[in-house]
């Protein structure tokens, strides 16, 4: 027959309970600090990278609109510029806040269709109307990023 032995603590019960509560609180504070550290890291990356990406995106959007004006002869070049813009924005997605992230993802998903299991969402063909719509979306993203860049100077 097994006998259960209870070892008496040398510490008073109230101290053990307080230690347990502080341990739980400390766990949540650690999670919050990790989240804050991630935000600060992203803010530093944004400060360093945003101006460069904005410059590249502006150049790409200016080339894109020039090709769009001559869509009949410069369709391929326009699509190339869309793909370049998409790559630049994709690189930026993990570094921007949620609101901007949503807009960036909308542009990326509009340029190339998403595949979910066996279904493909969106169309892969880009005609003149779609290309102009994508240019509008690109300008919205660019305007938003420019404002974010101004805001990040105050971070």
């Amino acid at each position: 027959m097994e006998c259960l032995t209870i070892v008496n603590s040398y510490l008073p019960q109230w101290l053990v309970d307080s230690g347990t509560i502080l341990g739980i609180v400390g766990f949540f504070i650690t999670i919050w600090l990790l989240w804050e550290a991630k935000q600060i890291r992203n803010s530093f990356i944004r400060k360093a990278r945003l101006p460069e990406v904005i410059k590249d995106l502006s150049r790409s959007s200016a080339k894109l609109v020039a090709h769009l004006k001559n869509w009949e002869t410069e369709e391929k070049e326009a699509i190339n510029q869309l793909i370049i813009s998409k790559a630049l924005i994709e690189n930026l997605i993990p570094k921007v806040p949620d609101l901007e992230k949503k807009r960036c993802k909308l542009f990326v998903n509009s340029v190339t269709p998403r595949t979910l299991f066996f279904w493909t969402i969106g169309s892969s063909t880009v005609d003149e109307d779609k290309a102009w719509n994508l240019y509008t979306l690109l300008i919205e993203v660019l305007t938003m990023l420019e404002q974010l860049n101004k805001d990040s100077k105050w971070d």
């Binding site: 959007s61 004006k69 509008t136 919205e140 305007t143 420019e146």
Partner: protein
């Protein structure tokens, strides 16, 4: 959809239709509502008629005061919709590459850049 998004959509449409030659822009004198009782200077002013409204794009230069008497001139491109009396109904001047692009497209159309360069090259 907020005002910025709508303005961007409209300006993109205007770029497209201007480059296709569907909208005819011309250089005009700015309306008095833009020039009276202000120190701002309207440097260049383009106007067109679009869907029974007057649309305009212009460069506005304003004084940026660093001290009471020390200032520097700054400039911004402005897109506006006016009524037939010259009153501004909507003004969009947020720094955005789209206004600069519309400005370039309008300039190219008004100056007829292709023929101008061809003439100078001949």
């Amino acid at each position: 959809m907020n005002l910025d998004e709508k303005a961007i959509q409209l300006i993109t449409k205007l770029i497209r239709e201007t480059s296709a030659g569907l909208i005819k822009w011309k250089v005009e004198l700015p309306p008095k509502t833009l020039t009276t009782a202000t120190e701002d200077d309207i440097h260049i002013y383009f106007e067109a008629e679009y869907k029974e409204k007057i649309i305009a794009i212009f460069e506005r230069r304003s004084k940026y005061f660093m001290d009471e008497h020390i200032f520097a001139w700054t400039s911004e491109d402005v897109f506006a919709i006016l009524d037939h009396l010259g009153n501004i109904l909507i003004e969009y001047s947020q720094h955005s590459p789209i206004i600069k692009e519309l400005f370039n497209t309008v300039r190219q159309q008004v100056a007829d850049l292709d023929s101008l360069l061809n003439d100078l090259l001949d």
